[in-house]
């Protein structure tokens, strides 16, 4: 569980959540082709496109290539994604030609549980055959994790999510450490960066373990330790993450306000009957 109330992480002019999204957005480059997961990854990827990376190509698994939504989609296949896309292909084509074909530079994912090697669980809490909590499952992630050039992950940091051992390996990170991906015939880099509301972790080139390389302003190393389920390592030269700029915050808040207005109420009021 989280060790401190959310309020203590709130700066005077931006929230921890905003810090996370801005930091995650910065990881994307202008010439990336990004396969976007729904939720936090989608928020970060669109913020990147609206700020420093206008040339960024966004791809959603529903088949939309080069989409430029003005509001964040609630689902992976909202009409907005198709209407603003360069082209929309079938789902088999998306997974066969574009993902498996090696056309994607970055897969941007979230997770319910993650371990120090970036292996992701979105399937079950507890035993697969007798789950305590049945989560939605893998969707596109198992092949995104192995077919994209590299993987970025964005998720809120807590002991419940950042665990020593995940209950189910939905999507491969670095397995049990260096060399595992290669042994499985995977030639892509796997998880390289993890952006949370507390810090940035990057994958150690030698061990492949996630190491804290940048701490967000106002966050202490103790907070990170308290919210990580494994014995977390820090780089020798840990940086302080730059604060969100006015332009980044304005773009993010505009995006969220437009999204909120677009998704407000059932169109037909059926629930109220």
């Amino acid at each position: 569980m989280r060790q401190r109330p959310e309020g203590e992480r709130t700066m005077s002019d931006y929230s921890a959540q905003e810090m996370m999204s801005v930091t995650a957005a910065r990881a994307l480059r202008n010439d990336d082709v990004c396969f976007v997961g729904i939720g936090l990854p989608s928020e970060a990827a669109n913020l990147a496109r609206l700020t420093h990376a206008p040339g960024l190509t966004l791809i959603y698994e529903s088949g939309t290539l080069g989409t430029q939504p003005s509001v964040l989609p609630l689902s992976i296949g909202d009409g907005e994604l198709c209407e603003t896309a360069l082209t929309t292909v079938s789902v088999p084509e998306m997974f066969r030609y574009w993902l498996q074909g090696g056309r994607i530079t970055v897969g941007f994912l979230g997770a319910a549980q993650i371990d120090r090697f970036g292996n992701i669980n979105t399937t079950v809490v507890g035993e697969y055959g007798d789950p305590k909590v049945r989560l939605p499952g893998g969707g596109g992630a198992p092949e995104i994790a192995t077919s994209c050039g590299e993987i970025f992950i964005v998720m809120r940091q807590s002991k419940r999510g950042f665990v020593d051992k995940i209950d189910f390996v939905t999507s491969l990170g670095h397995g049990t450490g260096a060399g595992d991906r290669e042994r499985l015939g995977v030639t892509t880099r796997g998880p390289t960066r993890l952006m949370s509301d507390l810090c940035i972790m990057t994958s150690d080139p030698e061990t492949k373990e996630f190491v804290v390389t940048s701490i967000h302003p106002g966050i202490t190393a103790e907070q990170i330790v308290e919210n990580t389920g494994w014995t977390v390592r820090f780089a020798l030269d840990v940086e302080e993450t730059p604060r969100p700029t006015k332009a980044e915050l304005a773009a993010l808040r505009d995006l969220k306000a437009r999204t909120e207005a677009a998704h407000r109420v059932p169109q037909t009021g059926e629930a109220a009957e």
Partner: protein, 281 residues
Amino acid sequence: MSEFVLLSEAVEAVMSDGDAVAMEGFTHLIPHAAGHEVIRQGRRDLTLIRMTPDIIYDQLIGMGCAARLVFSWGGNPGVGSLHRFRDAVERDWPIPLEIEEHSHAAMANAYDAGAAGLPFAVFRGYRGAELAQVNPAIKSITCPYTEEKLACVPSIRADVAVVHAQKANARGDVLFEGIVGVQKEAVLGAKRSIVTVEEIVDEFEGTGPNAVILPHWTVGYIAVVPGGAHPSYAHGYYTRDNGFYKMWDEVSRDRDSFRAWIKQHVLEGGPQDFARHAAAA
């Protein structure tokens, strides 16, 4: 050869208890009105196949229509859990639900193989993924040319495919526009099919030469159900009712409120009720 009928007649004609049924539509064009009709007709023991079970299968599972589910992502998109699906998997309510779970890539490839008349699909997938250890249908094959080890899964060839599309023309050809998902593959791979459409037109107009069209000789029954994809959407007709998806989280969380909703909106309703969703756009 396609035939225009009422939705109730189509379900009556092609779907029996115990059938393997693929009701497809990737977030878009989900055949909700047809799902309601299956509930009204009380089909039992179905194998439900669908990449994203979504609200349509949450309703069928909650009403005890399904014995088995083949799927790759079982959530309420952008909202959270499918509570009826979870209740069936975690607590066997209202009846136990056997699951065969895949990744999207596996199911997309399996539909493609089904349409192509192949027995299985081959792809580069499931590497290091634990699903391969809990789902015996996931196997591997060695490439005879390169010796690369690749994943394979059985093709999907449903007894009945059910999809929703924008238009049929007078001849019974069917036009899909927007996010086309795996609908074409699901219909071509299935033994029988039902297509619900927003409208019938004399001729398709304004379509490019590469429009996604199922010719009338590949389609079984067509029923006109305006609004029939609600709360998903029909590109060019009405938008996704995101508010409904959020509302469903509340309604479906509780067994009694779920059953009350189904009684009022499904058991005591009909396909004509969907028209107001199309009209609201």
